[in-house]
């Protein structure tokens, strides 16, 4: 055993299990809730009991080719299957190629290992993990990395730092005001390095640069912000107004697609599921406060802090077990962890994480 | 200072002219630039020029304790120095990628190939051995530093003589000065040669070009550096990726390198031998680098121009059809082994006697069999010298 493996139980178990791997893997069929199967499979390896009702195929090794149609024929055209950069099998014209593929001598080849989806004749391959690709209209959570001439650079987990222009944010004192030189001078007072913002993707430039905007009413409209610097407070208020908020970064592909990105969860926390995989958790702001803007310096009670901590750990364990993150799954995990009477700190233990994940998946299945 | 950016125009025009079968300096694809070796005042100091690339190598020695793991072997250490003098975009005092790579090439070619008999550098086992230090300084970077550094290093090592030592009965070691006793030459079994190929891709076609200039280096897709000796041993291979290549293309390059390596090795041996015999025969002490035998870029370029014009004249005289024979088919050159390893050599004999060169690659004169009136006899002699030298080598 190499030194680095010590003290990390999961890695030890898994690497040993992969070495003693029988060369057979389980694939849950569609009857099994798709949400479950990965975690089930993973957990089944450890727990040794298949808890799902579905049919398990053993050793059904699939020839993962693009567009062979064999799998597609069996499971429906949209059934994803896996491709591991196999040699090409289908001949397509260049305009039909999708993301994650490229043409070579008239055939389409996958360039990433991931899931193949086919919509009509467009074949795309989506990798499991990827940096945020960006889509216009997505709500994302980002962190300011640099303040420049009339724009901020925002880290949104994409391949280039996104750009938030001064003209694209709601300035203090009215939404339609043109930004002036003073605004430009005081940019750092509005947002400075390290601040978190919740913004939407306005445009994707030619070179892949994401242009962000924070003008939308989506973020909770606050009228008559008074004084300078209120914008900063305004934007961050949604996220950071209280001192007990926290950011969890997960893979962007784990975030379930959803129109609504900000959720006030019943446990008393507001969660922003940024499409870029940054999830932000804050205590719920009372309605009147949110709209009228009062700087709240009240101390956050321990219970709320615990709730936020628990939510954070639940998010972590879901991500660890590759379960899609949505308000439902987070709340289920949260409730399960309370049901099973785990302390917040226990949720970081690997076996507890596994138990909770399994239980959450089961209860979601019901 | 930052490097001047490369414009699209420069890039495309170079590639397209190579695909038209033409290099900017009108060399053939498999032609190496002109090699000149100059030797300094002391033993083991050599400056090599490869076209406009210039490298200075200097060997020094000292008595040190041997490595405990190898108590009866001398040491050899190689250091490459690359300063902004060589090219303005290199940063001073900082190791950069080029140095790392050169160091690796030299280490493998010279140190790890064990071409140098390190055991002969032992004075007293476990007590004292000679340590040779090879310092390679790049003076001008005009492309293909690997070959140039290797050339200079090998020549310097072959040229080097270390002082004689006597070991007294009580273990005292006396190092004699060069005046007191004849210095002892280093013994180099094989002459490692380094050859660089540059690859240019356009679409599916890949064109291989030897000895790239700096501009070609900036444009090329990838390259292959082969270190080998005339005995057919590969001492190092470096194909650092950046492009996809078929195995066959690479291997054929390596095979081709062999014939070239022979001629380069001979050049080096000849040049070193010439200088050493000159030192022996002439009673006057060698004066080292001199203005008259250090060739400036201007001289070199003028010489190239004159050569080209003369070559043209020669052709008209001989009624050789230009163009067809002269221009190599790029693709052909790529695929099959060209037989031109001889005639692609740099000096056409008609001009070499007039050139302002120092001891350069004249050994080709004979083979080229074109009338070179004055220099024929001389060429003969040299050829014989080479032969006798080689047999001596073989016997050793």
């Amino acid at each position: 055993m190499t030194p680095y493996q010590q003290g990390n139980k999961s890695q030890v178990t898994v690497s040993s299990s992969s070495s003693s791997h029988p060369g057979v893997w389980l694939v849950a069929e569609l009857e099994v809730s798709e949400l479950v199967c990965a975690s089930v499979r993973r957990i089944a390896l450890h727990v040794n009991t298949a808890t799902t009702t579905g049919k398990l195929i053993f050793g059904a090794k699939r020839e993962a080719g693009l567009g062979t149609g064999e799998e597609g024929g069996k499971c429906g055209a949209y059934r994803p299957w896996w491709v591991c950069k196999r040699p090409p099998t289908s001949v397509l014209s260049p305009q039909e190629r999708g993301h994650g593929t490229y043409m070579e001598k008239g055939v389409q080849v996958a360039s990433v290992a991931g899931c193949v989806t086919r919509v009509n004749r467009l074949i795309t391959v989506t990798p499991l993990r990827q940096v945020y690709q960006g889509a216009v209209g997505d709500t994302v959570v980002g962190r300011i990395t640099r303040v420049q001439n009339n724009r901020w650079k925002v880290d949104v987990n994409s391949r280039l730092d996104a750009e938030l222009r001064l003209s694209n944010i709601q300035l203090p004192g009215g939404e339609q005001r043109r930004c002036s030189v003073e605004d430009e001078r005081d940019m750092r007072a509005l947002l400075t390095e390290g601040d978190l913002v919740c913004v939407e993707v306005q445009k994707i430039c030619d070179d892949g640069l994401l242009r962000l905007a924070a003008r939308s009413n989506k973020f909770g409209k606050v009228s008559d912000l008074h004084g300078q610097g209120s914008l900063a407070r305004y934007i961050t208020q949604q996220i950071q107004c209280l001192t007990a908020s926290t950011l969890v970064a997960v893979s962007p592909s784990l975030i379930a697609q959803d129109k609504q990105r900000m959720h006030d969860l019943p446990c008393g926390a507001r969660v922003v599921f940024g499409a870029n995989g940054y999830v932000y958790i804050t205590p719920t702001v009372p309605q009147e406060q949110a709209s009228t803007y009062i700087v709240n310096f009240e101390e956050v009670p321990v219970e709320v802090r615990k709730t936020i901590g628990r939510l954070r750990n639940c998010l972590k364990l879901l991500a660890h077990h590759s379960i899609m993150i949505s308000p439902t799954s987070v709340m289920t995990a949260y409730d399960t962890s309370i049901e099973l009477e785990f302390e917040v700190r226990d949720l970081l233990k690997l076996d507890v994480m596994q138990d909770v994940a399994l239980a959450a998946v089961q209860s979601m299945n019901k | 200072m930052k490097e001047v950016p490369l414009s699209t125009c420069e890039r495309t025009s170079l590639v397209s002219s190579i695909h038209a079968g033409l290099r900017y300096d009108h060399r053939k694809f498999m032609e190496v630039r002109d090699i000149t070796l100059n030797f300094g005042k002391d033993f083991g100091s050599c400056s090599a020029t490869l076209g406009e690339t210039r490298v200075l190598a200097q060997v020094t020695c000292e008595v040190v304790e041997p490595r405990p793991s190898r108590p009866n072997e001398g040491k050899l250490s190689i250091a490459v120095h690359l300063s902004p003098m060589a090219a303005p975009h290199l940063e001073p005092g900082r190791t950069n990628d080029i140095v790392d790579e050169l160091q690796q090439i030299l280490d493998r070619n010279i140190k790890e190939s064990r071409c140098l008999d390190l055991e002969s550098l032992c004075i007293q086992a476990e007590e004292s051995v000679w340590q040779l230090r090879l310092d390679v300084t790049v003076l001008n970077h005009a492309g293909n530093l690997g070959d140039a550094c290797n050339l200079a290093s090998v020549a310097a090592l072959r040229h080097f003589h270390r002082p004689d030592v006597t070991v007294e009965a009580d273990g005292r070691v006396t190092v004699h000065t060069l005046e007191e006793r004849q210095p002892i030459p280093t013994f180099m079994r094989k002459v490692p040669v380094c050859l660089t190929y540059a690859f240019f891709m356009e679409g599916e076609h890949c064109i291989t070009v030897m000895d790239p200039t700096e501009q070609e280096e900036r444009v090329m897709c990838g390259r292959l550096v082969v270190g080998l000796n005339p005995h057919g041993e590969i001492t190092s291979l470096l194909f650092p990726g950046r492009m996809m290549m078929e195995k066959e293309t690479l291997l054929s390059c390596i095979r081709k390198a062999f014939t070239k390596a022979k001629s380069v090795a001979e050049t080096v041996q000849q040049a070193v031998e010439d200088d050493l015999t000159q030192r022996k025969t002439v009673s006057v002490k060698p004066r080292g680098y001199e203005v008259k035998n250090l060739r400036s870029d201007t001289d070199y370029n003028r010489w190239l121009i004159d050569q080209r014009v003369d070559k043209r004249k020669l052709m008209i005289e001989e009624n050789v059809m230009p163009m067809e024979e002269e221009m190599q088919d790029p693709f052909e050159a790529n695929v099959q082994q060209p037989e031109d390893s001889e005639d692609s050599d740099v000096n056409p004999p008609a001009t070499s006697s007039k050139t302002p060169l120092g001891p350069s690659s004249h050994k080709k004169k004979k083979k080229e069999s074109v009338m070179a009136n004055g220099s024929e006899e001389e060429g003969d002699e040299e050829e014989e010298e080479v032969k006798s030298k080689l047999t001596a080598e073989d016997l050793l």
Binding site: S15, W25, L35, A38, Y102 | E112
Partner: protein, 240 residues
């Protein structure tokens, strides 16, 4: 001592054309965009990939394609005796080579203006370090979802007298050469070729051939692991 015994076996009981045990693993860590670990016999290498991300130094930015940087280092005790510097000239040259390999393999034009950093840590070294590093980096890049032309696999081979041997250990490489070949297995093209110590020209062909054969075997192991990994994470995508 002979590398190959009279029975035709090597010291560790392998036949000349047999690979050592290989096991690899994708996704060890969450923090980097991609990470992987590979064991080839006693050579153990860990790789992490960050990016594509914003370029760190603007002077290096290339607006047509991405910048690929590689940093390889060895832990101090990876070869039994302590190495003085984890990064020296040799590892720098190796890093350069690894970066060169991925220059050929990554679809650079997909990430203009970005930077991909590959960090490789050699935990144990026992021959074939370069190839292990390349394999680990390739897996890490696949894990990170970086677009590649193909898998990249690398393998070493050597020759003992007249018998070509595959996947040499440290001990075996002391006596002979060590040829490292990296290739794109599905395209069959070579992306890096490297030879340390002397090798005769006539033998080069068979050594390279053997190494390329070894590459194909390693490729099978690696693609198996990638498939396992993907099956593992099935739920993620299918839920969308």
């Amino acid at each position: 001592m002979d590398v190959i015994s009279p029975e035709g076996l090597r010291q560790d009981g392998r036949t000349p054309t047999c690979l050592r045990d290989i096991s690899c693993r994708l996704g060890l860590y969450d923090r980097p965009n991609g990470s992987a670990y590979i064991e080839i016999g006693n050579t153990k290498v860990l790789a992490a990939v960050y990016g594509p991300r914003e370029v760190r130094s603007l002077s290096k930015q290339n607006l047509d394609e991405c910048v690929i940087q590689c940093e390889m280092s060895r832990i101090a005790a990876c070869q039994g005796e302590r190495v003085r510097r984890p990064r020296d000239q040799r590892t720098r040259a190796l890093s350069l080579q690894i970066a060169g390999v991925f220059h050929a393999a990554i679809r650079k034009t997909k990430y203009p203006g970005s930077q991909i950093d590959i960090y490789v840590q050699v935990l144990q070294a026992d021959g074939g370090v370069t190839s292990a590093c390349i394999n680990a980096s390739a897996l890490a890049l696949i894990h990170a979802g970086v677009e590649l032309m193909d898998y990249v696999v690398s393998c070493t081979a050597s020759i003992n007298k007249t018998t070509p041997i595959l996947d040499v250990t440290q001990q075996e490489s002391v006596t002979g050469c060590e040829v490292t070949v990296s290739m794109l297995p599905n395209k069959g093209s070579v992306v890096s070729l490297d030879c340390a110590h002397t090798l005769h020209l006539d033998q080069l062909d068979e050594v390279v051939d053997l190494a390329m054969e070894g590459c194909q075997q390693i490729y099978k192991v690696m693609s198996q692991e990638v498939e396992t990994y993907l099956q593992d994470k099935n739920a993620v995508m299918s839920h969308q």
